[in-house]
Amino acid sequence: MVQRRRLLDFLPHLILLIGVAVVAFPVYVAFIASTWDAATISNGSMPLRPGPHFAENYYRTIFIGTSSSTREPVGTMMLNSLIMALTIAIGKIAISLISAFAVVYFRFPFRMTAFWIIFVTLMLPVEVRIFPTYKIVADLKLLDTFAGLTIPLIASATATLLFRQFFMTVPDELVEASKIDGAGPMKFFVDTLLPLSITSVAAMFVIQFIYGWNQYLWPLLITTKDNMQTIVIAIKKMIVTQDALTEWQLAMATAILAMLPPVFVVVVMQRLFVKGLVETEK
């Protein structure tokens, strides 16, 4: 029995370890590559231990950039990506909270119609409506601006649905107690609903921040100026078709840098995130 137990304990761990290795090994290789010089990498015999060029490579990546392909330090791109991801995440959450609040707590004409229209946009992600959306953004002269970069990505049915589901589980009596306690709708929203939603908001923030950070197609279309590039685009641009011209050590450093903010967000928000997915403060 004990033997069997051991085996049963061991097997899942083995599977998990293999999974971790599969995920972590490429990241490790990328990190190693970012610490050697271009020559070592391109002659095909890069060792699996950190090299001597860590500081130099990261300094060049962040403050100078590649010499030809991106023409802009990665620091600027990270800032661009950060602004974009934060704006998208915060914007989506703000809009979704308010629209879910309206749909759940107010009886206005065509309420369900409004809800279904929001719902249907689930079927229309940016990729599907990319041409008309691009046209609108271009006509509004929002190309190469953060507004153009973020606003079309902010409208979000997913978050609205999530918050709607959450709001529907909040007991009606809390609204009624608030009414009797002299709190108007906005006061109820701010004083009661928001504090109760905080874990869902955190979960949403993690998901949407990563969604925003990883955007590729839309920034590619909207940004033309070098100083508006985002880091995800930069990685792609750095890898030039003639392999020899790629400054692999910088591309890898950029990849590592691109991973850091999402990792940071997940680690910081992890506790709230998990709480938001499994329980609610009620």
Partner: protein, 347 residues
């Protein structure tokens, strides 16, 4: 003055359900009014209309000398205690009680004074900094009461406030609510399912049925002189024996002064006593079941051997054998006669 007056108040829900069909009630200043009735009879709806949580479809509701039909709940000067307490989960006990006062712009030191006073009265002082989830059901109940009393409202509204508590705590809180209400002298409307709560708390007991008031009055009046068959059957536990008397009479039942017409006779189990003497009413029953509940026992029997069931309460635990034939009598002042067509009291 903070009396509550309802004049032919009606409620029609969207979808056409008429939940309250013209209720008129007067609840005097400081009076404790209890609403009882079967599930779905419109008690909560009526209470919520007084609170302003439901719109009033017809008639008027006044609190004090002000008609409140169109007034927001916050401005009606009422406080409500909900069945599930509805405490704000993210606020401390102190904030839960202070919230309503803060929204009204009460000065800070006044809020503090009132909250601490309420906490003292309700014995929740040790928990002021805790969140509701860290309290037991009874403590939450007290906090909910505290939230109501700090506001010093004109009217307290309770919707089955004790139904989530266990039996012992329920009795304890019932006594406390009554004491508190007496001490504060605040007009109260209280909805309950519990007979005992209704009888013990009420100055005015209102029995509702199908959206209408069947009878309103002092609890003892409703017990002694129920005006309809419904009230007769609803008030009292175990329920009153109700027997439909055909013109020919029932086998095993004899009345000293016979009645005519289609009549329903009512007599409470506690008003029947085992005796061989004559009485205004005498029934012969064959015992089908017995229940000993401690100081008293209930005998279930079939009238005349196979007629309708009759319950007799006897003191003590001296139980007859199943199948035995017994004779029970009742005095004339304990007999209730109702018209079988209209359900209205005849005597």
């Amino acid at each position: 003055m903070s009396d509550v007056r309802l004049q032919s108040v009606r409620k029609v829900y969207a979808g056409g359900v008429e939940a309250v069909k013209g209720v008129s009630l007067e609840i005097a200043d400081g009076q404790f009014c209890v609403l009882v009735g079967p599930s779905g009879c419109g008690k909560s709806t009526l209470l919520r209309m007084v609170a302003g949580l439901e719109t009033i479809s017809g008639g008027t509701c006044s609190i004090g000398d002000r008609e409140v039909n169109e007034i927001e709940p916050a401005d009606r000067d009422i406080a409500m205690v909900f069945q599930n307490y509805a405490l704000y989960p993210h606020m401390s006990v102190y904030d839960n009680m202070a919230y309503g006062l803060r929204n009204r712009g009460t000065p800070k030191d006044e809020i503090d004074r009132r909250v601490r006073e309420a906490a003292r009265i309700l014995e929740v002082e040790p928990f002021l900094e805790r969140k509701p989830r860290a309290l037991s059901g009874g403590q939450r109940q007290r906090v909910a009461m505290g939230r109501a009393i700090v506001r010093k409202p004109k009217v307290f509204l309770f919707d089955e406030p004790l139904s989530n508590l266990d039996a012992k705590l329920r009795i304890q809180m019932r006594v406390e609510i009554k004491k508190l209400q007496r001490a504060l002298g605040t007009t109260s409307i209280y909805v309950t399912h519990d007979q005992l709560e209704a009888m013990t708390l009420a100055d005015q007991l209102v029995v509702m049925n199908k959206g209408q008031v069947e009878q309103a009055g002092a609890p003892i009046t409703l017990y002694e002189r129920p005006m309809t068959i419904f009230v007769a059957g609803f008030i009292g536990a175990p329920p009153m024996n109700l027997l439909d008397l055909p013109a020919s009479g029932l086998p095993g039942l004899s009345l000293a002064s016979p009645v005519s017409g289609p009549v329903t006779l009512g007599v409470r189990p506690e008003h029947l006593e085992l005796s061989t003497e004559g009485g205004a009413l005498a029934v012969e029953v064959q015992v089908t079941a017995v229940e000993a509940v401690g100081a008293e026992s209930y005998i279930y029997g079939a009238l005349g051997g196979q007629g309708p069931e009759i319950i007799v309460r006897i003191p003590g635990r001296d139980l007859p054998a199943i199948g035995a034939s017994l004779r029970a009598i009742a005095r004339s002042e304990n007999l209730h006669f109702f018209s079988r067509e209209t359900g209205i009291r005849l005597n």
